[in-house]
Symmetry: C2
């Protein structure tokens, strides 16, 4: 088949890591130093025109990423290969934001809509005194934590539930009505002085991982009962949202991986 074909722009997928501690989250906001703004500024410097970057989703202020994913369309006239885009971006970004990978993808790839699931990590430190290099990176809990209760709470969260008790109100958005979500993986791994919590799911409610982690920690500290936690999941019909006993700080949370087909 011959004929005039309209050339599609080259779509590039970025895998990005960042130390979110001193940033106001992923998403563009006026008068806020955000990850997306830093990346779009670097893209515009390279392309000499504004480029829109589409992330897999937001991360809140202070939340980190090991494997955030975003895509953008390179301007037609710019012939730069992915390796050069990666180098040019990292040269222009602060050292606390790094593009780890850059690859050409099909034009129907979308960082947000093509994502099948995401994995988050939440790191707890039980060190008596938190080493300075871990400040802003973990949730410091020097009080006694019972790992069995922590594990029981995570087991409880596994599977499909109404998670309205673990959904914060975003404020400026249309009200969510569907609070059913499925967590395909909830697991606990010991660290030298602490614990690593892993959550994998197809979709997450606003602040869901932090509200789940906060509740699990309260249970592991003995100040919230596992039965009460179960009740938050299993009797949801007229429960208001956000009834989790605690929202964990952003420090320990990282978007670890976004899974695509």
């Amino acid at each position: 088949m011959e004929g005039i074909q309209q050339e599609l722009p080259v779509r590039l997928k970025l895998t990005i890591a960042y130390d979110g501690h001193r940033f106001g989250g992923w998403q563009l906001q006026p008068n806020t130093d955000t990850i997306q703004e830093r990346l779009e500024t670097a893209l515009a410097e390279i392309a000499k025109e504004p480029l829109r970057l589409h992330g897999s989703g937001r991360t809140d202020s202070g939340v980190h990423a090991i494997g955030q994913v975003a895509h953008f369309d390179a301007p037609d006239q710019l012939t730069m290969n992915p390796v050069n885009w990666l180098a040019a971006l990292n040269t222009r970004l602060p050292a606390t934001i790094r593009v780890l990978e850059c690859e050409e993808v099909a034009n129907d790839f979308h960082a947000r809509f093509s994502a099948l699931s995401k994995t988050y990590h939440y790191e707890l430190s039980t060190a008596p005194i938190l080493p300075p290099f871990q400040a802003g990176r973990v949730w410091h809990l020097p009080r006694q934590l019972d790992p069995n209760s922590l594990e029981d709470a995570l087991t409880l969260f596994h599977g499909r539930h109404d998670f309205r008790a673990f959904a914060a109100n975003r404020g400026n958005e249309t009200a969510e009505t569907d609070f059913q979500r499925t967590l395909r993986e909830t697991s606990l791994a010991p660290l030298p002085q602490g614990y690593l919590l892993t959550f994998t799911g197809e979709g997450f409610l606003y602040k869901m991982v932090r509200l789940l982690t906060g509740a699990a920690v309260r249970t592991a500290q003995g100040s919230f009962r596992l039965d009460d936690l179960a009740a938050l999941l299993d009797q949801p019909p007229d429960l208001p949202r956000g009834k989790s006993p605690l929202c964990a700080p952003p420090d320990g949370l990282s978007l670890y991986e976004v899974h695509y087909g």
Copy 2:
């Protein structure tokens, strides 16, 4: 023997860790956010009077510590045990400065003058892309480094030498005339993606570890010859100071331990 005894104040020794990345070094300076100033501010808040803190020595702007040591004399009227001092200090300090230990010492202990030797660590990363959490904490050298040359350079530095080529000018001080120093340990250990250099000595010239590291790295990159490095150590009589080919950035340097009798 009986009689009226003058009570000596209680002297306390602190072991301190800090992430030096966003501080202007250890020593008090006008209009600069320094570690000593943060600690003295916390001490004054607790004691309700100014207290002078004596460090084992300065660390430069951006340099870290795993085991800096300092001492102060607690006011007579204040009866607080070392455990409470430690907790009260850490409550008032930023999370990037932590008092790791607090212990009562003899009144003739002096953090600086009683120190027998010090150990510094310098960390190099050879990762192709530096992870965001390591920004400001290591010297990133993605170019090829030859570990054998690195080791040869460190072996060369070992022992007693005239280190004037590895002494920076402090500017506002009386000129040093004795550049003889002894390095009791210079060693190289591999890291998963990089190297850890260790230097132990009884005394160090200004910026000596960074100038030694810079020279070792230049040698390991093949841009400086080991013979030329040897010449900087062994023909010092009329050599001007600071002839090292490179001063390593502060990022990778940590005061690891101060050794006392």
